[in-house]
């Protein structure tokens, strides 16, 4: 009796052990899998987070050295940067490998041969040539006592003639001379662009104006010119002429529609920087001949939205010099200026939103002077304290 009961118990125990073992093995396998998955997730995402932190820590500063026209690229971040690719201005990539430890610089590039973009091994893309050129613009008429200069603005706040042709709605720009609307033409290094506020056209070539003549102040930046025509023509190679029929007392405006976007909780002041280049000529026999200061140039900036309009006069610094390769009394005058708008200083307030920007310049001659204003051009405009609105980016 006792033996039979033990045997029956043995079978149940063995069966139970097998079932429990099976359960334990299954549970353990799934448990270890879950643990391993969690561990993989933690490890991989920690690795990715660390990578993103390093990627975010990559910082590059581009500086311009006016003496040698060098574009200096410095690693101002906390991590070693490896440049793995560059893009030239023709849109061609070049594979390379340059390691740039923190604090070190590449100084072998000049304004002519600097790449448009550099790409790092962590997938960051930095603009070089454009940044360098913008700084060169700013410094073109400023003596450089100490060599390397700092970067005055961030790239997104600056619009220059090169930038104007990239990714913007080109119908948004036109000029007004004494009440007459004129179209504006500029060249971006590849093609010409004409904008009259209603239409815009690209031209691969034009007659009547040479590319080399677009850089009056020899700073390697083409100026935008006022076309002696109300509308741009939809031709493949139009003939155009630069407007030069200015009266003794004239007002010239460049109108940028929806250029500025004032953000919510922005800064207290908006500053608009610009550079105008004009050419004046003085007959040698005329009264005041040889003196370019017989003409007064007064720029002011207007920011407007709907029925609201805010205007501020510009503070300017002017440099005039005899125009190279021209005899007689012809002067190129560079006017660097800025105007400040206190965002909260007006009764109505510069509320958040899109604003038109107009750069107007009142030009008047000294009485009795035979001085002539030949050309009026805009080289760049920059906005600090507000965003450049999307259509212009």
């Amino acid at each position: 009796m006792l033996t039979r009961r033990v045997r029956r118990g043995q079978a149940e125990v063995i069966g139970g052990i097998i079932a429990i073992s099976l359960l334990i093995v299954s549970t353990a396998t799934i448990y270890f899998l879950a643990t391993s998955t969690q561990s993989t997730a933690t490890t991989e995402f920690a690795k990715r987070t660390s990578f993103e932190a390093e990627r975010d820590a990559e910082r590059v500063a581009v500086m311009y050295e006016p003496t040698s026209k060098g574009c200096i690229v410095s690693n101002v971040g906390a991590v070693v940067i490896t440049i793995v690719r560059t893009w030239d201005s023709a849109g061609k990539p070049e594979e390379l490998k340059i390691s740039l430890p923190p604090g070190e610089s590449i100084s072998s590039w000049t304004l002519d041969n600097a790449p448009d973009l550099i790409v790092t091994s962590r997938g960051n893309v930095f603009a070089v040539k454009g940044e360098c050129q913008k700084i060169a613009n700013m410094l073109s008429n400023i003596p450089a006592p100490g060599g390397v200069s700092g970067q005055p603005f961030t790239s997104k706040e600056l619009i220059n003639p090169t930038r104007m042709t990239k990714g913007m709605n080109k119908k948004l720009l036109y000029a007004v001379v004494d009440g007459d609307v004129k179209s504006v033409i500029y060249y971006n290094g590849t093609k010409w662009l004409c904008s009259d506020g209603t239409n815009s056209y690209y031209y691969s070539n034009i007659n009547g104006i040479s590319i080399s003549g677009l850089d009056l102040d020899y700073d390697s930046i083409y100026e935008s010119i006022i076309n002696d025509s109300r509308f741009c023509r939809p031709l493949s190679t139009p003939t155009v002429s630069e407007y030069n029929n200015f009266s003794d007392s004239t007002t010239v405006s460049y109108v940028f529609i929806n250029l500025i976007n004032i953000p919510e909780n922005g800064v207290d002041t908006i500053t608009v920087y610009f550079k105008i280049v004009v050419v004046i000529s003085l007959p040698s026999t005329a009264a005041g001949g040889g003196d370019p200061h017989v003409i007064t140039i007064s720029p002011f900036i207007t920011i407007a939205k709907g029925s609201l309009s805010f205007t501020a006069p510009a503070t300017t610094a002017t440099v005039s010099r005899g125009l190279q390769a021209q005899s007689g009394y012809t002067y190129v005058v560079s006017i660097n200026g800025y105007a400040i708008f206190p965002v909260r200083g007006f009764n109505f307030g510069l509320n958040p939103g899109m604003y038109n920007l107009t750069l107007s310049t009142y030009i008047t001659k000294k009485k009795g002077s035979n001085v002539n204003l030949n050309f009026f051009r805009l080289e760049y405009i920059a906005v600090v304290g507000a965003e450049i609105a999307d259509p212009w980016r």
């Binding site: 069966g15 099976l22 879950a34 997730a41 991989e44 793995v84 893009w87 790409v119």
Partner: protein, 211 residues
């Protein structure tokens, strides 16, 4: 023939033991198969999770003519990738057009060179895309066209922690996009990076661009 009582008991016991063994083994096999299935899927999820975490896609250059996307594996390793380019309805996630069906000209640059790329047709049932966190095969398609990333790019870029370039010709896909947009609804162009697991291809990263 009359069985004796002992014989009858023995046969009953044998039948019961056999039945118990059969049921026990079947249950064990079923349980182990389920566990094995769970483990297998778990391992695959781990692998995909790891690949997704390792892959970085970013826009390198974009102009009127093309869009260049950089693809980087942050941990160097020999991993084979394939690319798909799909036009997707932004609201439903349904694939509307396979843009590589037009030929290799759509991808104008892969890596350093400009190879003559010929897309390869694979069954849609072997391509798994991510939609809201889960993997699904490409719906309403029999085949999907893919471009396999060549071994020299794997060796020169992926295993050396360098981003490789994929440039999509906007001109080549302009007509397809224009006709799709004409049909209404927001569309999105997706460059999808796939990796091999067994004989199937699984999405591990994507770059979306609104046309």
């Amino acid at each position: 023939m009359v069985l004796r009582k002992g014989q009858s008991d023995l046969m009953t016991a044998m039948i019961l033991v056999s039945a118990t063994l059969t049921i026990g083994l079947a249950f064990s096999a079923l349980a182990m198969s389920q566990v094995s299935n769970i483990v297998s899927r778990g391992r695959m999820q781990q692998l995909l999770m790891s690949e997704q975490a390792n892959l970085v896609l970013y826009r390198e250059v974009e102009n009127e003519r093309s869009l260049c996307v950089g693809i980087l594996r942050i941990t160097p390793s020999v991993t084979n990738y394939a690319l798909a380019l799909l036009l997707v309805d932004a609201s439903t996630g349904l694939v509307e057009q396979d843009l590589l069906e037009q030929g290799g000209g759509v991808i104008e640059r892969l890596g350093a060179g400009q190879p003559n790329i010929v897309p390869e047709r694979v069954p849609a049932s072997s391509v798994y895309l991510i939609y809201r966190g889960d993997y699904y095969t490409v719906p309403m398609k029999s085949y999907v066209y893919i471009v396999r990333v060549p071994q020299d790019i794997i060796q020169n870029y992926v295993t050396q922690q360098r981003p490789f370039l994929v440039c999509i010709s906007k001109e080549a896909i302009a007509d397809s996009i224009a006709s799709a947009i004409g049909e209404g609804g927001a569309k999105v162009v997706k460059l999808i990076v796939l990796t091999h697991i067994g004989s199937d291809l699984y999405e591990v990263g994507e770059w979306s661009a609104y046309p």
